[in-house]
Symmetry: C2
Amino acid sequence: MDIDLRQLRYFLAVAEELSFTRAAARLHMSQPPLSQAIAQLEAGLKTRLFTRTSRRVELTAAGQEMEAQARALIAQAERAQQQVMSVGAGRSGKIEIGATGTILRGGLAGWLADYRRHAPEVRTVIYEQAPALQVKDVLEHRTDISFNRTDLSFDRSVARHPELGCTLAWRESVSVILPRGHRLAAQDVVALADLAADEHVMLHPESSEFARYLQKSCVEAGFLPQVSQQVVDSQSIPSLIAAGFGVALVPASTARFTSNDVAFRMVAQPLVADVYMIFRQHEQSPAVHEFLRWRAECARIRPAQETPITSK
Amino acid sequence: MDIDLRQLRYFLAVAEELSFTRAAARLHMSQPPLSQAIAQLEAGLKTRLFTRTSRRVELTAAGQEMEAQARALIAQAERAQQQVMSVGAGRSGKIEIGATGTILRGGLAGWLADYRRHAPEVRTVIYEQAPALQVKDVLEHRTDISFNRTDLSFDRSVARHPELGCTLAWRESVSVILPRGHRLAAQDVVALADLAADEHVMLHPESSEFARYLQKSCVEAGFLPQVSQQVVDSQSIPSLIAAGFGVALVPASTARFTSNDVAFRMVAQPLVADVYMIFRQHEQSPAVHEFLRWRAECARIRPAQETPITSK
DNA sequence: GTTCAATCATATATTGGACATATCCATATC
DNA sequence: GATATGGATATGTCCAATATATGATTGAAC
């Protein structure tokens, strides 16, 4: 009673050849089972599909309808198979990405563009996330990959979860934001120690591993930064600097979207603003798996990772 | 390698139950062959569709895609089957109808409306045909049914073809078109014999059996009509009458679309303008077959067929 | 920690159905 | 009317889908 794609393939062969014998030859089978299969299909539909005049085979009206329907069905089955295999191989699908505001506006989309060229069928959906929620969101499948500036291998603030993996995504340099007319604005590159006397605007160290890293780096450079203001959202930093609250150390890419009320200057190495990807080690969809595999391969070929988009 | 709707039905059962055991019960089969069938499907796609954790079954990303695709495919297969069966039963399909101008404009569409209500999926396509080509067009499958005023049972002008059938479609009365101020315009009903002295406009008797029928009727009424003008297209008759070329006998429904430069009066019975359907006895599509069957049944229930639309 | 129950995978036997070979029947062609 | 062509029918064979039995894993109960 239920039709079956095999029957439809047989039907189409007969409909195209208008001959059971020729169709059977094309299907690499003998003629009787083909006749039987068609008869069975007709019985299931309670409808004749061919008129057999012992010398000529013709399609009935229902047969013509069936030809159109069968073609559409088989084509759709083909597409369905391709689509499923494509998802299975990670060539299509969806990757849910979480990122902090600075990373999202700091060139993440541009950095992803490479992969979009490599796997155009994979949709990437980017959510802006509070850093504190990123690990939780990944663990609970709300996102597949989180981009942030925390290297879980060294992070002690979140419980080191065995299910989570962490990889360096890209490496950018650190800039310092100076107010107009600051004494260091004349230099192209600023050494970290030169900022010892300035007041600093920085992110809350509790919620930002990057802030803790900067603090630690300052201490290693020989001074404990004077904090004039702590902020939650890095977007508000440039306006605070413009208002005279001091200086701020930020990832170089922050310069892309800010006015020229303030000056951006490179900070000398070895200060870096690394961006990491956090992801589940298992239970990752093929698209995510393939994405991470591709990234790992790229990193193997060209390990020196630079700022995704120059902050010029 | 080629997927098969049976596998998809199995897959959907498992995807819905998220359990091989329950799905097998729902499918009235045991669990091992179901597991095998799914494994086979996965092998064909080279893609895992479920993650089995020996306690819980879950869909992979590819499995979710497959669920959507499978639903769409099975629904389409269902629709295809319905559609083919519908065509096979004559509930849907197409009927190509040929008709002469007078019949086409004389209420054919209205007469067909009944059937369109009965079988709304059947499309009826109406072509205007020269009467001389109607039989040929039916025999050569250009049309399925011809409407005209020729009863093939008595027609001797065309070779009586054994493949052709002929049935009365409807019966209308005959009207006479009189010029303004004609002496008979005062009467509601005109007897045929009263028109003996008038000049007549009529269709070519060679191409119109109706014209021959009218001629014969006049002779039986005791006069040979004086023909002032012979026309091919009955549409031109009213204007010729208005121009004073005499009178004309026409089917009553002709009055529907003409101005009041002329007067229409009923002609006394037994003069009738019957409309017949001509069709192939065999090689008719289910839609045509079902249409004719339905008509025959209606005629059996209510044999008195009237003018399809009153010529008021 | 141990046992039990639940659940899917694997092994093996069985059966139904798809297929092939052989043949029959109808008809178009000569 | 003989022949050839092409589909239907009959019958045997073989594979594949299924059932039964069993194993393996694991979550839950105590």
